[in-house]
């Protein structure tokens, strides 16, 4: 009997200890690395094509193990996660990819990232196209947030088999000649639709809209939704209106399959050969290949984009300050963005290098892609890359772009008339910019 109270006390202590442990438990969990290799986590989206490069790097650096997260996820899933990790001060990878449209937002809060200029990055300046290098710099030029990976030279990918079915030329030179301008592209599309192949001419109007916008903006104003003083110019930038009107013509002609970009239906439509053309920035070739699958190998080819080239997309690699292995992460980022790294990524998944040395390298200029019927991707995408004019992206670029893209989509789906759609685009873009 005398034992009983003591046992109860022990129980009390146990309960209290458990409660403390449980409440404190979520604080732990840091990887206490001993003597073994350190693990570097790389966060990416889409297809960066780094798999082989990791193998090479790990072979050369036995002390480093690399884990990649996020391959295949789209930017809309990736960017909120990255932002939350940065805001929370933990969770982000040691090396993170930042897309050009979001760079401005991250640059506004440079404290989240290691200043690569403090780690010898200044010597690397010549390894990048000048505007690509500058895009990674903060406004005052004192901090380098990210090293450039790829740029998004644009072409037009098309299905040879569907073109043949529709009685159109299938050879890439001949196809390029079909559409010197977007109006010619529409005319070709109308012929294609008239042939009733069971497929649409293009995937979604939003993809085409982005292409035309970035192309037109690059060739005229040099900025899209924001001017270079960060004023919202959705309703006054002629490039936007021009892209809008051309896109409306495309929608009007019934060319679009209305497969919302990056949706499940879009992926299914690739697999089921439901559309014949898609505007493809260099990085899109990897996406097409993984969506359409090996069954479509050799059925795709690449022609010139209507209009005059342009740039869509492209990323940087940055090292968050929260990384526990900053020095090693910086080395890895330098390796992946080196000319050698960019060439490797291009060979694997097609993102076009932002390094002039890489662009000049025969491995790029002479590159062909068997998936795309042996298309000379190096010369198609690389030709204009060095003369590309960058398009300036303002602070809320992603949010504003989302609103305008959604307006395009409502017209495409027949929920709004083009005029209503334009009003929506302007109103909602202003609202998004104010948030």
């Amino acid at each position: 009997m005398a034992v009983f109270p003591r046992r109860r006390l022990a129980a009390v202590a146990l309960v209290a200890a458990t409660a403390l442990l449980v409440t404190a438990g979520c604080g732990g969990g840091d990887d206490a690395e001993g003597d073994g290799p350190i693990t570097l986590t790389v966060d990416v989206f889409g297809q960066f094509g780094y798999e082989q490069l990791y193998q090479d790097y790990m072979a050369a650096n036995p002390g480093v193990k690399i884990v990649e997260r996020g391959t295949g996820t789209n930017l809309d899933e990736y960017s909120p996660k990255l932002t939350q990790w940065l805001a929370a001060g933990r969770g982000a990878g040691d090396v993170v990819a930042i897309e050009e449209g979001l760079m401005v937002e991250y640059k506004a809060n440079p404290n989240n990232f290691v200043n690569l200029l403090d780690h010898g990055a200044a010597d690397l300046k010549g390894n990048f196209l000048e505007w690509k290098w500058n895009a990674g710099l903060t406004a005052d030029g004192k901090q380098l947030i990210g090293l450039g990976t790829d740029v998004g030279g644009i072409a037009m990918c098309y299905r040879k088999d569907l073109f043949e079915k529709a009685g159109l030329p299938t050879e890439r030179e001949a196809v390029s000649k079909l559409w010197p301008t977007w109006q010619d592209y529409i005319a070709t599309g109308e012929k294609f639709v008239a042939a009733k192949t069971g497929a649409s001419f293009l995937d979604a109007a939003t993809n085409t809209f982005n292409t035309i916008l970035l192309q037109t903006a690059g060739n005229t104003t040099g900025y899209s939704y924001y001017d270079t003083s960060d004023n919202l110019v959705v309703d006054s930038n002629p490039a936007i209106r021009q892209a809008w009107d051309t896109t409306m013509d495309i929608v009007d002609s019934g060319l679009s399959g209305k497969y919302g970009s990056w949706s499940e239906e879009w992926v299914s439509a690739f697999k089921q050969s439901k559309f014949a053309t898609i505007a493809c920035p260099a990085w899109m070739t990897g996406v097409i290949e993984s969506n359409a699958g090996t069954g479509a190998q050799g059925k795709w080819d690449i022609a010139k984009v209507p209009g005059n080239g342009g740039n869509w997309g492209g990323s940087h690699l940055a090292v968050p300050k929260q990384s526990k292995h900053q020095a090693e992460a910086i080395e890895l980022a330098k390796f992946l963005t080196s000319a050698k790294g960019q060439i490797g990524a291009f060979k694997a998944k097609g993102p076009l290098p932002s390094s002039p040395q890489a662009l000049d390298d025969p491995a790029i200029s002479g590159a062909t892609n068997t998936y795309f019927s042996g298309a000379p991707i190096g010369s198609i995408f690389g030709a204009g890359a060095k003369s590309l004019k960058p398009v300036y992206m303002g602070p809320k670029n992603q949010a504003v772009r989302t609103e305008v893209e959604n307006a395009v989509r409502t017209v495409e789906l027949g929920q709004r008339s083009p005029a209503q759609g334009w009003t929506d685009a302007v109103t909602n873009a202003k609202k998004a910019a104010a948030k």
Binding site: A2, A19, T83, E264, A399, T402
Partner: protein, 331 residues
Amino acid sequence: MTVQLDARPPAAPATGPRRRSTGRLSRLDTRYSPYLYIAPFFLLFAVFGAYPLVYTFWVSLHDWDLLGTDHPFVGAENYTRLLADADFWHALVNTMGIFVISTVPQLLAALWLANLLNRGLRGRTGWRMAVLVPNVTSTAAVAIVFGVLFGREFGMINWMLDLVGVDAIEWKSNRLASWVAISTMVDWRWTGYNALILLAAMQAIPRDLYEAAAIDGAGRARQFWSVTVPMLKPTILFCTIIATIGGLQLFTEPRMFNSGTNPIRGGPLRESQTLTMYMFENAFAPHYNFGYGSAVAWLLFALIAVVAAVNVLVLRRLGGSRPGARKGVTR
């Protein structure tokens, strides 16, 4: 020791030579250890419930850029802006719409299912387990599968509609259709769960009530409505409140239902954007406005409290309007 009941102070400790020291300890023990026993819940609640609640409220009073370092205090500005925000009200209507068209059929179906399971079926346990299976599957997986089923062009539902000569329905870009599609996901997942809870309550209803009702000449349907349902009222109330909380916080199903660029909008015209999605859209991508998102979270909290209270009142009133039935049963 003899039988010791819970929730009673333990029997007085036996007297002995060391009585003084152990006695004091055990008095302390008697007085305080019950609090320690229940402390884990409250500690956990304080950390994971109360603190986030208060912190969210604090954030909602600031202009808080998720990545920014400065968070100026703006008072109720986020709330006043929110109340004038058409997209907020739009999301509210979506949430309530999906909630109503999912919860009502769900609870009715659960009641019906529970009644069936309550009969003398062969392999009863198997059937009862089976209704819970949808609840065990991952919400995200369910949403993805249903999202594909409800596809515009490649979806099975539209394909089947086509077989019977019905035109394809734009499940994702038609507001009402998207509500229905999302409701089917919710129902598929939660009907069995509610049915089991109702079944447990049904089994606690004394058999003699049914015998008495049968002697009075009540058929199966009459027994169901006049005996089973009134006796289940507290359980139905419980299920309704749980469904309210879940329904108004609906996120995964509509989020996964919408794929493609910026799925958090629930479609280009926000057809199926719920309040939690709107909260996410503002607090995280693409706006990163943590203060505004927190204000949405707090209004959602208030809304759930109001709707739950209305549920309780309505269900009480329903019971009160049929005093005869109720008294006849409980006596």
